[in-house]
Each structure stands twice: as C-alpha cells, then as structure tokens.
C-alpha cells in the first residue's frame, strides 16, 4: 500500500462531484452516441432489455467495490454467487419444496447466509492471518469453484417455482425487479459507505492501514464486516442470476469477474484503496451496458465490444489523471 501520502481531497465534496460529473458526462456521451448510431437503441424494448441485463454485473461490481475501497480485492465474487444460488436452488427444490412462498423466502435467506459466510471466512483469514486479500480471495475462489463442482458433479440445478422466476422477469411499476434489487442494494451500500462509522473506517483502512490502527479503530472487525458485506452482495447477484436463468451451475457469470474490477476502476476507485464511490460506479456500469447493447444493436463483433470496454477504461483514466495531479 503505497498510499501513505494519498491526497485527502477526495473526501471533500469537490472531488466527489467532479467524479460523478465525469461519469455522468461519459454516460450521456455514450448514450447519445448510440442513440444516433445504433438503430432501435431508444426503443422501449432495448431500454428495458438493458435494465434487465445490468443488475447481475452491477451487483457483482458492488461486491467488488467494497474490498477495493479497503485496498483489497475479492476474486471470489462470482463463485460466491454460484454457491449461494446453488444453496437456494437446492433448498427450494428439495427441502422446502412444499412450503410455497415461505419456502422461497427461506431458501433465499439461506443462500444469502451462505454467501455472507463465504465472505466472512475470507474476512477472518485476511484479518487474522494478515495475508494479502488477493491471495486469500484467490484461494477462496478456487476452493468455492472446486467445492461447487464436486458437490454438483459439474451439473446444474434448474426449474425454479414460478414465484421465484418472477424475481427475474417481473416488473414493479414498470421497472424490472432485478433493476429494483440492484438500485436498492446500491442505495443501501452508498448510505453505508458514506454515512456510517464502519463505512468510513473502510475508506480509512484503504487509505492508510497503520494510521487507522493507531487511531483506535478495530481494523480486524472492519475487515471481517467488509468481506462479509461483499459476500452478501455477491449472493444477491447469485439470486438475480438464478431467477433470470431459472437455473444455476458453477461457472455461470465467470466471465464477469475481471469486468467487475474494470467497472470499479472506471468509476474512479483507487487501485491502492481509500477512494471509490457507489454512484459513479452505477453510472459507469450503465455506460458499459450502453456500449455493449449499442454495439450489439449495430451488429459489431462481441470481441470488438470487449476491446471498446478496455479502450473506454484507458480513455477515462487518461482524462482523469490531470485532475488528480492538480490537487
């Protein structure tokens, strides 16, 4: 962590407003570009389709953001989501099959519990052993992948009750349920990170671990809380994927892992920790979705769309650097 002298200005309103401004501008720019270039981009069907697609990647990115702010990383987010989904699917289908809505609620509760437990475990190891989170979560990622594949023998579970599928395909006042879940999670996380003592402590840990320790904050407790939170958010993503795909298997959404890191850095999270906000991340995710859907509508190759995501990150970084250096 080389951020001992990291600038403090990011905590002030000015820098935050700037960051949100940049991301909003980019969103508007990419949106207008594809509205002009991509046929059918502004149609209600496409807007709804983007709103349905965003949440799974979005929730996983939120799960990635929290550790990144603390100067760590949670590489286990996608497999945590799978394990949580598998837990819920198995419980709803086997043990709670006849319990109807209560069964679904209990199944979701258990899935979220398992996801949180996976995060808790990573947190405990990071806090107690003091190993770098990349190593710990990489270990956890491979462990969860292997465990899941062992338990399911590489197969999947599918065929959830209709009530569960509603979570993936239903709408409430015109907004797709997955989007609502995402917005609520993002709102909750933004509040937690900005306005609670623990949230502030997470920023401090990422900024300067030693100083945080000396200021009397229980760093271990904060680390455990933040990885548990990350696990919980990943589990919510797992629920959304389960509801949307009506099935779950180890490896679903595997390709999102590095994209979540991309999204966090795109939104101005500092790779060395300390800085990162939820709102710019939400805006950045929207830009990524706009680019992906827009390019699909134009009939561009998926590989090209991936390249554009990468290029987008580099451009944003370049644009941002002068502002960071000036202060």
């Amino acid at each position: 962590m080389s951020s001992a002298s990291a600038p403090r200005h990011a905590f002030r309103l000015g820098a935050d407003t700037l960051e949100i401004g940049i991301m909003a501008l980019l969103l508007v720019a990419s949106f207008s570009f594809f509205a002009l270039m991509a046929p059918g981009f502004l149609s209600a069907v496409n807007v709804r389709s983007m709103a349905v697609q965003l949440p799974e990647l979005g929730l996983l990115s939120l799960a990635m953001l929290v550790p990144i702010i603390s100067g760590g990383l949670n590489l286990a987010v996608t497999f945590t989501a799978n394990i949580a989904g598998l837990t819920t699917a198995w419980l709803v289908q086997n043990a709670l099959g006849d319990a109807g809505v209560i069964g679904i609620v209990a199944g979701i509760g258990a899935g979220l519990g398992v996801g949180s437990a996976a995060g808790f475990l990573i947190g405990v190891i990071v806090a107690r052993v003091g190993a770098h989170p990349i190593l710990v979560s990489l270990g956890a990622m491979i462990f969860l992948q292997g465990l899941g594949e062992f338990l399911t023998r590489g197969g999947g579970i599918s065929g959830m009750p209709a009530g569960f599928q509603w979570l993936g395909s239903g709408t409430l006042i015109g907004i797709p349920i997955p989007m609502l879940i995402f917005l609520m999670s993002a709102g909750g996380l933004a509040y937690f990170m900005q306005f609670t003592r623990t949230g502030f402590s997470i920023h401090m840990i990422g900024s300067n671990l030693r100083a945080t320790e000396y200021s009397g904050i229980d760093v271990r407790r904060v680390l455990i809380v933040l990885y548990t939170l990350s696990g919980l958010l990943a589990a919510i993503a797992g629920m959304v994927m389960l509801a949307r795909f009506n099935s779950v298997r180890v490896g679903h959404g595997e390709s999102y892992l590095l994209i979540t890191v991309l999204a966090c850095f795109l939104a101005g999270a500092n790779p060395f920790g300390g800085f990162g906000r939820v709102l710019p991340l939400v805006l950045g995710l929207m830009s990524l979705q706009v680019i992906a859907s827009g390019m699909n509508l134009m009939g561009a190759s998926q590989h090209l769309a991936t390249a554009v995501w990468g290029a987008f990150l580099i451009v944003v970084m370049t644009l941002r650097m002068p502002f960071l250096k000036r202060s």
């Binding site: 059918g40 149609s43 389709s49 949307r244 795909f245 009506n246 959404g253 390709s255 699909n296």
Partner: protein
C-alpha cells in the same frame, strides 16, 4: 460497414413506423448466437451463415460471445430481442440457462432455432446435421467395407459417461453385430479418446494382445490421432484400419500417409447455412413435417421438434485438405 448502413436504413424505417418487429416484411433478419466466437468451428459456421444470407438476400449474421460462459449467450439473446430480429438461432452452451430468455423471444413472436440441442424446450425447431444413429452406422459401414468383416475391432470414446460419444459407439457396435456377426470387439470400449497419449498407449497394448485386430473406431477428438500414431509406429498402416472423428488440420498428414482410413462428422459450414435457410423458410410461413425436403438439410426426419438431416461429412483423402483449409 455496408451491412450497418443497410441496417440503419431498414431499422430507422422500423422506428418511424411501429418500432421493433415491423421491419421490411418480405425479408427476415436472422441472427445466430454461437457457443463462443473466434474458434475455427464457429468461424466456419459464420461463413456458412453469411454465404446463405447473401444467397437468399436476407440479413443474416452470427454473434460469437467472447467466452463459453452461458451468461453471455443470454445477454446476446436479450440484445437480439431488443434489436427486433425475426429469427434467433442458438448453439447452446447450457440449454437450461437459455430457456427463460428463449421463451421471452418466442413470446414476442420471434422464431427460435437451436442446433445440437434436441432437449431445448422453448424453441420452434432444433436441427441436427446427422443423427447419432447414422453417425455411428457410417463408421461401422466404413469398418466393414475396409476390413471385409474379418478380425476384431476396438472402440474408443472420450469418456464412458459422455452421452454423445457413447450413443455413436452404441449405434456402430449394434450395426456391426447385425451385419458383421463374425467381427467381435477385442475388448470393451475404452474411455481414452480425448488424449493422444492414452489412445496411443491403449492401441499399442491392443496390437500386442490381439494379433487379429483389424480396426479401431474412435469417437472423441484425439483418439483417432493417437491410434494412428501407434499403428504407424508398428508399421501396420493398411493392416489396421483407423477411423473416427478427428480434426482435419491435425489428421491430414496421417490421412495422406494412409494411416487414418477416414471418418465422418458434420460440417459447421453447412449448419450455418441450414440456420439461415430454415429460418427464412419458417419466416415465410408454413410448418415442417416429417419427410420434408428442405434446402441445405435435404430430406429430414422430424422427431418431436427435432429435425434430423442426413448430412454426414466424410473425411478422406479427397476432402481432408479442403476442410483443413477452413481451419477445422
């Protein structure tokens, strides 16, 4: 670029009119979602899709996700629904994951086709270039022809619980039992065909243990190559017939050396053409019934909603180079 312009024009008209579906009524837009883009198999399929698209004058293209993660196929289909295409074709990575989004597509009146996925539910039709039965039997016939139904033979599969491989092997063995009663399997089938080394070693053992070994059939990507190497090492090319599935690029030299007798698979190029031809035909209206003679697929057998064509692609000295050029 030209395609984009064309699209921009047609769909812009669509927006002005009644958004989405109501594009140019006469010609459909057909999009096929591959398992993963950028690999030779699906590059060949893309070529087939575009060739047939040009031939029929329809807008047909392939979307190749950047990895085999099923979630990416779902996203691709979501975008295609938003784009308002008329026909969506999919070669599923994971059938179950796609069911909800394919249902959504069908609910919007989009024709949905799959390939290599007979169990898919929310589709109009699935098509197979060749049935498991026929693929096995073609190999069995080749073995019978080249050995004169004499001696013993061995069968390799990718694994003893790989459904497709074992279905092919079952069909081949059954055909031989009925038509070549004198030929016997030297041993139960071996699950070695995904590894060149394992199949080479197994073949060397078999040659030692069974002097009457006359042929080897391999249903798995590497078994034919491994068996051929063993046969070549022992100088038995021509005495032991090696046949089965193999990648043309990998096996072309062994074929020319006469070590690999031949084999059958199906052509991704033809499958690509079939997607477009079938989509166009269904868009024009009309059901498909058992025994219909369709473009590209030829005479088909309809089983449930699966169309079985009879289009084996023979790999032999004449065809292997051309297929290897395709990158297969």
């Amino acid at each position: 670029m030209k395609r984009n312009l064309y699209l921009a024009a047609t769909v812009l008209a669509g927006i002005v009119g009644s958004a989405g579906m109501a594009q140019a009524q006469d010609k459909p837009t057909i999009a096929v979602v591959a398992k993963v883009g950028g690999i030779p198999w699906f590059n060949a399929m893309e070529q087939g899709i575009e060739e047939m698209g040009d031939e029929l004058g329809v807008d047909a293209y392939m979307i190749g996700p950047t990895s085999a993660d099923p979630a990416l196929q779902v996203r691709a289909v979501e975008d295609l629904i938003a784009r308002g295409v008329n026909v969506i074709g999919v070669v599923p990575n994971d059938r179950e994951v796609l069911e909800p989004v394919l249902k959504k597509a069908r609910d919007q009146g989009i024709i949905v086709l799959t390939h290599e996925s007979p169990d898919s539910e929310n589709i109009d039709y699935d098509f197979e270039m060749i049935s498991a039965q026929q693929l096995g039997e073609e190999h069995a016939k080749l073995l019978a022809d080249t050995t004169g139904c004499e001696g013993s033979y061995a069968v390799y599969v990718g694994g003893l619980n790989v459904p497709a491989h074992n279905a092919w092997a079952d069909a081949a063995i059954e055909w031989l039992d009925q038509n070549c009663p004198d030929m016997k399997q030297a041993a139960d089938r071996f699950g070695v065909a995904e590894s060149v080394d394992d199949s080479r070693n197994t073949t060397l053992d078999l040659i030692r243990a069974h002097p009457d070994l006359a042929g080897i059939m391999s249903f798995g990507s590497q078994g034919t190559i491994g068996a051929a190497r063993a046969v070549k090492e022992r100088g038995l090319a021509g005495d032991i017939q090696v046949m089965g599935l193999f990648s043309p690029g990998q096996g072309r030299r062994l074929v020319h050396e006469g070590v690999i007798t031949g084999g059958f698979q199906w052509s991704p190029l033809e499958a690509g053409k079939a997607f477009v031809a079938l989509g166009d035909r269904l868009y024009e209206g009309g059901e498909i019934t058992d025994g219909d003679d369709l473009p590209v697929l030829g005479k088909v057998r309809l089983d449930g909603h699966t169309l079985f064509a009879s289009k084996p692609l023979e790999l032999n000295e004449e065809t292997v180079d051309e297929l290897a050029e395709l990158g297969l």
